[in-house]
C-alpha cells in the first residue's frame, strides 16, 4: 500500500472538520477524493502532505509513518489550485527548485527539466516567467515542478478549478496519460463529479468531514450505499419504499428488484434510486419499456446538447416520501428528473404541460438509514422520563438508537436501561455506552464519534439553560427536550414558524417525526402585536398554507394558524387551547445561542420541546468560520 490513513482527524474550534478518515491506496493508483466544498477533502490532502497538522490518527506513506514529519521529509509532490508558482523564477528554475534543494548537479537539473517540459507539453518555454503563461500552462509548470524530484506520491488539490471548461478537459486527459506513464500513486481532490469519473481508478466520497464511500466510479454511480453519494454523484430520483420478497414496493406499486443482490427476507425500509436515464416515457401504459410509475405531466424540458433533460410531475403516491429531487415547499406532488437522448426526443417529442406515462427500467435500493437517535441519561428522574419517551419514539421510527449514560458507570447504566425495558423493546439497533463526563461533554464526545439526527435530553425547570446551549452547540443534531414526567407520546404538535428557508427545514423535520408518531400538527405563525401589517399577514398566510401542503405530502394532517401578540404567551395559549402535546421551534445551526428560545423554555414547561436546527440560518456564520480556517492552514 502506497498511502494508508488511519482514523485521521482534524478539529477546528473543537468541531471535527475531518472525522476519523481511514483509507488505503495501492501502488500506482489514481484515487479521487470527491466532496462538496467544506467537506474536509482538501484538509485530508494537506494532512497527508504535512501542510496541516492532524489532531489524531496516522498517515503512512510507503509503509513509513510520516504523521509527525514536516512536508520536506515526506517525499511527496503537491499541486495547488492557484498554481503557487515562484513568480520571480523562470519556468525552468521553478521546475528545478526541488532538485536544487537536493543538491542535484546543474547538468542533471537541466536534463530533468527538459524531460519534464517535454512531458507536460511546454518544451522550449523554460526561459519564460510564470506571469507570461496562461493559466493552463502555469498549472502544467506546477505539475512538472511537483514531479521533478520523482516523489513517491502525487497530491493534487483541485488543480483545474481555476481553469475554463475546455482547458480543464484537455488538462484532465493529459494528467491521466502522464500518471499512467509514470505510474506514480496519485490523490486528486475535486468537487466535480464528471472530473472524478473520468480520472479516478477509485473514488472516495466525503461529506461533513467523513469519508462515506469508496469504490470504482461505475460502482458508486450505479450502486451507492448512502443517500449522499447517490445524490452527489449525478442527478438522482430517490423515493422512500420497502423491500419485500417480490421486489421493491413503493406504496401500491411493486417493482422487480434489478440490481440489489441477495433478496432480503424481511421487509425493510429502503431508498429507491433511479437515475434520470433509467426513466422510460411513453404515450400509453402499454408502450412503456419498464414497469409503470404513473401518469404525469411534463413540468419543464431543457435542451442539454447530447441529451434532453425533463422534469416530470407525478401525483403523490400514497405512503411514498420523496427524498430527491426535493419537492418544492408547498407542493403536493412528486417531481421526477428524466433524460433522453436526442433520438428518443425526436421520436416522442414532449413539451411542457403535456401528459405521458412514466416507467422505470432500472432501479437500485439503498438501505434506508432512517432516523438515528441519541438518548442521554444521567440517572435523574427527568432524564429517565426522557429515556422513556425517546425509547417509544425510537421504536415507532425504527430508529437506530444509542443510549449514553453521562457520568454513570456501566452497571448503573444497565440498571437504568433495564428499568424501561418495555419501552425499548423492538428497537432495531440499540447501543449503550457509559461516558464518565458531564452531560454536555458526553453528548459532544458521542456525536463526534457518530452523527445523530436527534438527541433526546431530559431537562427540568431547575436545569441550567446553558446545558441546552452546550448540547445544541455540540453538533448539528436536532434536540428534543423532555421536561418533568412527560412520558405519554405526543399526539398533536404545534410547529412554530416564522417563514423563510430555515422554517421550511423546521416543517420538514417536524413532519417526519410527526409521521412516525402518527401525530397531527398545527402550523403556527405569530406576528408581533404592534406590527400587524397586511403584507406581513399575507406573506405568513402563504407560508402556512404551503407548509400545510408539504405536511400533507408526508401524510401528516396539519392546520395553519395565524396569531398576533407577544410570542411566549401566544405560544403557551395555543399549546393549551389546541390540546397540543409537543412544541416545535427552530434554531440556527451555529453559532448557537439559546437566547432565542430561552423565553419559550422559561418557567413551567410541561410538554416536550423539539428544537429543529437549520443550516440556512447559520450559513453566513459558517462561511465566516471556514474562511478563518483557511487562514489557519
Amino acid at each position: 500500500m502506497s498511502i494508508v490513513l488511519e482514523h485521521l482527524t482534524k478539529r477546528y474550534e473543537g468541531h471535527p472538520v475531518v472525522n476519523a478518515v481511514s483509507l488505503e491506496i495501492g501502488d500506482g493508483e489514481f484515487f479521487v477524493l470527491l466532496g462538496p466544498s467544506g467537506s474536509g477533502k482538501s484538509t485530508v490532502l494537506r494532512m497527508i502532505a504535512g501542510l496541516a497538522p492532524s489532531d489524531a490518527g496516522r498517515v503512512l506513506l510507503q509503509g513509513r509513518d510520516v504523521t509527525g514529519l514536516p512536508p520536506q521529509r515526506r517525499d511527496i509532490g503537491f499541486v495547488f489550485q492557484q498554481y503557487a508558482l515562484f513568480q520571480h523564477m523562470t519556468v525552468a528554475e521553478n521546475i528545478a527548485f526541488g532538485l536544487r534543494v537536493r543538491h542535484a548537479s546543474a547538468a542533471e537539473r537541466r536534463r530533468r527539466c527538459d524531460e519534464l517540459l517535454e512531458l507536460v507539453g511546454l518544451a522550449g518555454l523554460g526561459g519564460r516567467y510564470p506571469r507570461q503563461l496562461s493559466g493552463g500552462q502555469q498549472q502544467r509548470v506546477a505539475l512538472a515542478r511537483a514531479l521533478a524530484p520523482r516523489p513517491a506520491v502525487l497530491l493534487l488539490d483541485e488543480p483545474f478549478g481555476a481553469l475554463d471548461a475546455k482547458i480543464r478537459i484537455e488538462m484532465r486527459r493529459n494528467l491521466r496519460q502522464i500518471q499512467r506513464e509514470l505510474g506514480v500513486t496519485t490523490i486528486f481532490v475535486t468537487h466535480d463529479q464528471e472530473e472524478a469519473f473520468e480520472l479516478g481508478d477509485r473514488l472516495g466520497v466525503m461529506n461533513v468531514g467523513r469519508l462515506l464511500e469508496v469504490g470504482p466510479p461505475d460502482e458508486l454511480y450505479l450502486r451507492p450505499q448512502t443517500e449522499f453519494a447517490a445524490t452527489f454523484l449525478g442527478s438522482a430520483n430517490l423515493l422512500l419504499g420497502e423491500t419485500t420478497s417480490d421486489g421493491v414496493r413503493l406504496g401500491p406499486l411493486t417493482f422487480p428488484l434489478g440490481t440489489q443482490a441477495g433478496a432480503l427476507a424481511e421487509p425493510q425500509r429502503v431508498q429507491v434510486l433511479f437515475r434520470p436515464e433509467d426513466i422510460a416515457l411513453a404515450s400509453s401504459k402499454d408502450d412503456l419499456a419498464g414497469p409503470p410509475l404513473g401518469e404525469g405531466q411534463v413540468e419543464q424540458t431543457t435542451f442539454a446538447g447530447t441529451f434532453e433533460r425533463l422534469v416530470l410531475r407525478l401525483p403523490k403516491i400514497p405512503g411514498v416520501r420523496p427524498i430527491a429531487p426535493v419537492a418544492p415547499f408547498g407542493s403536493d406532488h412528486l417531481l421526477i428528473e428524466a433524460t433522453r437522448n436526442q433520438e428518443q426526443a425526436r421520436r416522442f417529442p414532449l413539451h411542457a404541460g403535456e401528459s405521458m406515462w412514466v416507467g422505470v427500467h432500472r432501479l437500485h435500493a439503498l438501505i434506508h438509514p432512517g432516523l438515528s437517535l441519541l438518548l442521554v441519561t444521567n440517572g435523574s428522574a427527568t432524564s429517565q422520563a426522557a429515556l422513556s419517551l425517546g425509547g417509544q419514539i425510537a421504536r415507532l421510527a425504527h430508529a437506530r438508537t444509542s443510549i449514553i449514560g453521562a457520568g454513570l458507570d456501566e452497571v448503573q447504566l444497565q440498571a437504568t436501561v433495564q428499568a424501561i425495558k418495555e419501552q425499548l423493546a423492538g428497537i432495531p439497533a440499540l447501543q449503550t455506552r457509559a461516558i464518565a463526563a458531564s452531560t454536555a461533554q458526553a453528548v459532544r464526545e458521542e456525536t463526534e464519534r457518530q452523527a445523530y439526527d436527534l438527541v433526546v435530553l431530559g431537562i427540568g425547570p431547575q436545569d441550567d439553560p446553558d446545558l441546552v446551549e452546550q448540547v445544541l452547540g455540540a453538533g448539528e443534531h436536532h434536540v428534543l427536550l423532555v421536561s418533568r414526567a412527560q412520558t405519554a407520546l405526543p399526539t398533536k404538535a404545534l410547529i412554530c414558524v416564522s417563514g423563510g428557508e430555515a422554517s421550511k427545514e423546521d416543517v420538514l423535520f417536524a413532519g417526519r417525526l410527526a409521521r412516525h408518531l402518527g401525530a397531527t400538527a398545527t402550523l403556527l405563525s405569530v406576528l408581533p402585536e404592534n406590527a400587524d401589517i397586511p403584507e406581513e399577514r399575507e406573506r405568513a398566510t402563504r407560508f402556512l398554507e404551503a407548509g400545510a401542503r408539504t405536511l400533507a405530502l408526508l401524510d401528516v394532517p396539519a392546520a395553519p394558524v395565524l396569531r398576533s401578540g407577544p410570542l411566549r404567551e401566544t405560544i403557551q395559549a395555543e399549546m393549551m387551547a389546541g390540546g397540543h402535546s409537543l412544541l416545535v421551534v427552530g434554531a440556527p445551526m451555529r453559532p448557537f445561542s439559546v437566547a432565542r428560545i430561552r423565553p419559550i423554555l422559561a418557567g413551567e414547561v410541561s410538554y416536550p420541546v423539539l428544537v429543529v436546527r437549520s443550516p440556512y440560518a447559520a450559513a453566513a456564520a459558517l462561511s465566516r468560520a471556514s474562511a478563518k480556517q483557511e487562514e489557519m492552514v
Binding site: Q82, L85, F86
Partner: protein
C-alpha cells in the same frame, strides 16, 4: 517629510488586485464647477510653491551664490567633510541594522501569534510621535557616563555610547524604527502563502524558503524602507544634538555642523552643507519612489 513619505509608501504597497489608478481628472459623478476646478488647482500649487519650492530655491541660490567652487570649498573644509562622513556612515550602519531587525519584526508580527502582538503593533509607530529631542534625553538618561548602565559598559567593556558614534546610531535606530517594519508589513500580509508551502513540499527547509521564496517578494519594500530610514537619518538633529556631544572631527554630524555655522554667521558654510544634505535626501526619496512604483506590480502580483 518622514510622515508624508511613510503614507505614500503604504499606499504604494497595497495589494493591487484592482490596481487601476483612480482617475485624477474630472470625476464624472461630480457636477462640474468650471471656476472651482481651476481655483482649487491654483490654491494647491500656490501653497506648494510658498511652503516648499520658494524656500528651496532661496537655499540653493544662497548656497551657490558665490559659485560652484566656493560651494565645493565650503563642503570640503576638513571639519565639514568629517561631519558629513560621520553622518553618512552612522546612517548607513543604522540602515543596515534596521534592514535586518525591521524584517525580523515585521515577519514576527505578520506570521506569529503571541500575547501582546496588538500592543507591539501599536508601539512601533511611537517614535514618530515622540519629539526627537526627547529621544536624545532618554538615551542620555539610560547610557550617560553617570548612569549605572553607561558607567558599567565603559568600565568593563570599554564601550562609550553617549558622546560617541554608537550613541548616534542608537538615536537614529530609535527614530527610524517604524520605517522598515511598516514598509514590509503590508507586503508580507498580502503575500500568497502557497508558494512557501509548495517549496516545503519540494524539500526546502525554512531558511531556504525564506531566502529563496519570501525574501525576493519583500526585497524592494525592504530596500525602500532602508533608503527612507537612511534619508531620514542623515538629516536628524534633535535626537543627535544631545547624545553626540558635538565634538568636531569626532562626533559632530552634518546637521549639528550646520547649526554651528549658522550660529557663527557663516551663511555659506551652512547653506552649502544644507544643500548637499538636501540633494542626497532628495535623490534617495526619488529612488524610493521609483522602487515603490516597480514593487507592487512585479513582486506581489497575485
Amino acid at each position: 517629510m518622514s510622515t508624508v513619505s511613510l503614507n505614500s509608501n503604504n499606499n504604494a504597497n497595497r495589494p493591487n488586485g484592482n490596481g487601476t489608478p483612480e482617475a485624477t481628472d474630472s470625476q464624472p459623478y461630480q457636477a462640474p464647477l468650471p471656476w472651482g476646478r481651476w481655483s482649487l488647482r491654483a490654491v494647491a500649487l500656490l501653497y506648494l510653491a510658498l511652503v516648499l519650492i520658494i524656500p528651496l530655491i532661496f537655499l540653493a541660490q544662497n548656497g551657490l551664490a558665490q559659485g560652484a567652487s566656493a560651494f565645493w570649498q565650503a563642503v570640503r573644509l576638513p571639519v565639514a567633510w568629517s561631519a558629513l562622513l560621520l553622518t553618512l556612515w552612522t546612517a548607513a550602519v543604522m540602515a543596515a541594522i534596521n534592514g535586518v531587525m525591521g524584517t525580523l519584526t515585521a515577519y514576527v508580527i505578520v506570521r506569529y501569534r503571541f500575547p501582546g502582538k496588538a500592543l507591539l503593533n501599536a508601539v512601533i509607530d511611537l517614535p514618530l510621535s515622540i519629539p526627537t529631542l526627547v529621544t536624545g534625553v532618554m538615551l542620555v538618561i539610560l547610557f550617560g557616563p553617570q548612569t549605572a548602565i553607561g558607567a558599567w559598559l565603559q568600565q568593563h567593556l570599554h564601550i562609550q555610547i553617549i558622546f560617541a558614534p554608537p550613541g548616534i546610531i542608537l538615536a537614529l535606530l530609535f527614530i527610524t524604527f517604524p520605517f522598515v517594519v511598516r514598509a514590509i508589513q503590508p507586503v508580507l500580509e498580502a503575500m500568497d502563502r502557497e508558494p512557501e508551502a509548495a517549496a516545503a513540499t519540494l524539500g526546502a527547509g525554512p531558511i531556504t524558503i525564506f531566502r529563496r521564496i519570501t525574501l525576493p517578494v519583500i526585497r524592494l519594500p525592504l530596500l525602500s524602507g532602508m533608503l527612507l530610514s537612511f534619508a531620514r537619518g542623515i538629516g536628524e538633529f534633535g535626537a543627535i544634538v544631545l547624545v553626540s556631544g558635538n565634538i568636531p572631527f569626532h562626533t559632530q554630524t552634518a546637521a549639528v555642523y550646520v547649526l554651528g555655522e549658522v550660529e557663527s554667521q557663516d551663511q555659506l558654510g551652512a547653506s552649502a552643507m544644507s544643500l548637499l544634505m538636501l540633494a542626497i535626501a532628495f535623490g534617495l526619496v526619488l529612488l524610493v519612489d521609483i522602487l515603490q512604483q516597480r514593487s507592487p506590480r512585479q513582486e506581489v502580483a497575485l
